[in-house]
């Protein structure tokens, strides 16, 4: 999937896909927009050599995933700042199903969210997920297994709660 064309073409083709993926990792659409924009900004200044990559989208995705993980580590500090600033801005209206899924994903550690999104949404095999996140394949398998189990439990609970009269 080489992108020998212009940066603009590459951006237009990939940005919404990456935004959706990063939304599921960050759990916040504003955060996902920010992370994706920063990753594309970094790609734009490296486009002269990035265009020759087999998959420049994978490079942007990896940068965005790393940024998302970095920002998740700073979440506690940000949360304190947000509390000081007052109520959060109006959020985008997503469906109940999406909200439940994002909430369930939000209870998982960021690494588990990343492997679930990369493996189940992007469709990368375990080895490529390991390459993207720079971790051993065994760790990816373990994270996937634990993440899926936790997610199923959370979603199952949510649905059980929702089914109750």
């Amino acid at each position: 999937m080489t992108a020998s064309g212009s940066f603009e073409e590459f951006y237009t083709g990939a940005v919404s896909r990456l935004l959706g993926q990063l939304f599921l990792v960050t759990g916040d659409l504003h955060e996902a927009e920010e992370v994706v924009q920063e990753a594309f900004a970094r790609a734009s200044v490296r486009w002269s050599w990035l265009r020759d990559y087999n998959a420049p989208e994978a490079w942007v995705r990896r940068v965005a995933m790393n940024l998302a993980a970095d920002r998740a580590r700073k979440l506690r500090r940000q949360a304190r700042a947000i509390l000081r600033m007052g109520p959060p801005p109006a959020t985008h209206e997503v469906s109940v199903e999406t909200l439940a899924l994002v909430e369930a994903l939000g209870t998982l550690p960021v690494r588990q969210r990343q492997v679930i999104v990369l493996h189940h949404l992007v469709g990368l095999p375990v080895e490529e997920v390991a390459q993207t996140l720079r971790m051993p394949a065994g760790t990816v398998k373990s994270l996937l297994s634990r993440g899926r189990r936790a997610l199923a439990a959370r979603l199952g609970e949510a649905e059980e709660v929702g089914d109750r009269p």
Binding site: L29, S44, V45, E93
Partner: protein, 104 residues
């Protein structure tokens, strides 16, 4: 897990549809700004280091030279010196010493 895949895909599509996606020129502009910031930061760091170096060197140069300590090397004779009697002394006069004994 195809159910999970479907749910993830639906949520991602929804987010992509709802999210604000600026044009590519915004990313390009942001990238340029970021590079300018990085280059500017690196340049100011270099200038700061040069100024600090120059100031440090100037201070060292203008500092008065400390007093040199006295040389610690001792002048030990390297060979046994012999005081020779000058050749002009030819006569030795014996001393006339008188001894007075005290009261006994």
């Amino acid at each position: 897990m195809s159910d999970l895949q479907t749910r993830l895909q639906t949520a991602a599509d929804e987010a992509a549809h709802l999210g604000f996606i600026p044009g590519p020129e915004a990313a390009i502009r942001r990238g340029r700004q970021r590079r300018r910031r990085l280059v500017g930061g690196a340049a100011s760091l270099v200038v700061l280091m040069l100024v600090a170096g120059a100031l440090g060197t100037g201070r060292l140069a203008s500092r008065p030279t400390p007093l040199a300590p006295a040389p610690t090397s001792s002048t030990t004779p390297t060979a046994t010196s012999v005081t020779r009697i000058p050749a002009a002394v030819t006569k030795v006069i014996p001393l006339n010493v008188q001894v007075h004994l005290g009261p006994s």
